[in-house]
C-alpha cells in the first residue's frame, strides 16, 4: 500500500476526506512537475496534456476540500502528505524525453488505475460506514476517470511516433 503511519481501520470521515484531498493535491503537483520536465526537454505535446491534467486534478481537489469544509469546517487536519506516496500521481518512470501524446495519456491512465487499486485494497480494512461509503464513491470515480482518459486516447490519431528532440543527452549540464 502506498501509505505510511496511517491506520485505515480507525480512519474517521474527516481524516478520510482530508486524505482524499491530499491524494488529489499530490497528483496535481506531480502533473505540474511532469509538465515542467516536458517543457525543459522540448516535448510540447506531452507538456500540454500534463498541464490539462493539472486543471483536472485541481478541480477534484477543490470539490473534496469544499465537502470537507461543509462537514468539518476548519477542524485541524490530522493527516499529511508524508503519509501518502504516489497514490494517484503518475510515477516518475512513466515519462521520458520526446514521449508522444499517446504515451502521456497512458501515464495518466496508469495513474488513475493505481488510484482505483488503492481504494479497492483499502476498502476491506475500513470499519467506519461513512468512510466506506466515501471510499466506494472515490473508487467508482476513478473508474469514471479511467473511462474519460481511455476515450481521449481513442480519439487520438493512430500515430505513436515520439515528438520533439529525442537526442539521448541530458540537458543543461
Amino acid at each position: 500500500m502506498p501509505i505510511r503511519d496511517l491506520d485505515l481501520k480507525t480512519l474517521s470521515l474527516q481524516d478520510a476526506l482530508d486524505l482524499a484531498t491530499l491524494i488529489e493535491e499530490e497528483a496535481r503537483d506531480r502533473y505540474e512537475e511532469l509538465a515542467e520536465q516536458m517543457a525543459v526537454h522540448h516535448t510540447p505535446g506531452a507538456e500540454q496534456f500534463f498541464r490539462k491534467m493539472i486543471g483536472v486534478e485541481q478541480h477534484h481537489h477543490e470539490e473534496l476540500a469544499r465537502r470537507r469544509r461543509l462537514l468539518f469546517g476548519g477542524a485541524p487536519v490530522r493527516v499529511s502528505r508524508t503519509m501518502i506516496f504516489d497514490v494517484e500521481a503518475p510515477d516518475y518512470d512513466q515519462v521520458r524525453q520526446g514521449m508522444s501524446v499517446r504515451e502521456a495519456f497512458d501515464a495518466a491512465l496508469h495513474a488513475e488505475t493505481k488510484a482505483y487499486n488503492f481504494f479497492v485494497q483499502a476498502l476491506p480494512q475500513i470499519a467506519d460506514p461513512d468512510v466506506r461509503e466515501l471510499f466506494e464513491e472515490l473508487r467508482d470515480e476513478e473508474v469514471e476517470h479511467q473511462r474519460w482518459v481511455q476515450d481521449e486516447i481513442d480519439r487520438l490519431p493512430p500515430s505513436t511516433a515520439p515528438e520533439g528532440d529525442v537526442s539521448d543527452e541530458p540537458v543543461g549540464h
Binding site: 525543459v40 499529511s80 508524508t82 516518475y92 515519462v95 549540464h173
Partner: protein, 300 residues
Amino acid sequence: MAVEQAYAPKDFKSDLKPIWCPGCGDYGVVQAIYRALSAIGRPPHEIAFVSGIGCSSRIPGYTTAYGFNSVHGRALPIAQGLKLANPDLLVLVAGGDGDGFSIGGGHLPHAIRRNLDLTYIVMDNQVYGLTKGQLSPTSVRGRKTATSAYGSLEQPINPLLQVLSYGAGFVAQGTPADMVGLTALIEEAIRYPGFAFVNVQSPCVTYGEEHQQMRAQKAVMKSLASVGHDPADYLKALEWATHYTHDLHTGVFYRNPDPPPTYEQLVRERQAELGRNALPRERILELFVQRTEGGVLADS
C-alpha cells in the same frame, strides 16, 4: 493518527526546477528526502546539504536547506568541516557512485572512522551520468558504454561491504521504486546518531540498462525485513551485503545497537577538558608580551 507536521514536504522544495532527464531515479530520491525531512520536523535553516559534482549532486539546489554543490569527490570532507564548525546543524551529504566511490573514495573510510553525525546518501546508478555514460566503480564486469565498447574488464566495488567493514554504524539500501521504504530509510538514517550511509539504486534512464530501471527493480527487489534479517547482527549484515550486484535487497543492513560517541561530541568534551585548565585569555596575552619582550621569547 499523527498530527500535522510543523514543516510539510513542500517546505523543503526550492523554486529551482530540476533538469534531470524525465524518468531519472533522482526525482524520487529528492521526493523521499522532502518527506523524510518533514517527518524529522526541523526547519530548513537548520539543515545543510552538501554534494559533490554529478547529476545526483544537483540535489541540494532542489531543497530549501543551505546547500553546497561543491567539488567532484569532496562532499564528505566539506560536510565534516561544516558539522564540526556548527554541530547543531543537521548535515546531509549526497552524490553519485562516481563522486563517492571513485574520485571521492579516499574520503569515505576516514569520514566513517571519525564518525561525525552525517547522513550520506549515494545515488548509485552504476554509471557516470553527468559526463554522458562512462563506467563507474560500481559498473559490472562486461558493462558496455560509449567509452567501453567491448565491455568493462574490471570488477565492481561493493559499497555496502566497504562501508560496513570501515565501521559505519548505519548502513541501508533503498530504491525510488519503493518510495515508502526509501523515505523510511532516509528518515531513520537521519535519526541515527552517527555516520549513516544510504545506498540508493537510482536508475539512470539515459545511460542505464533495461534491467536497472524501476520497472525491473519492482519485479526483483526484496526487503531485508521480509527475509527476517536482524539489523543488529553485524556478521549477517556483511553476508547480505555480499549479494550486491546480484540481488536487490532493500532495508537496513546494519544499525549499531550501541552507537559510540560522535566525533563532534568527543571534540566538545576535549575542548571542555582542556578549557578547564586553560589560562584566562588576558593572562595568555600578558605572558605572550612578557616572553616576546625585546623581540625574543624569554624562555626559549
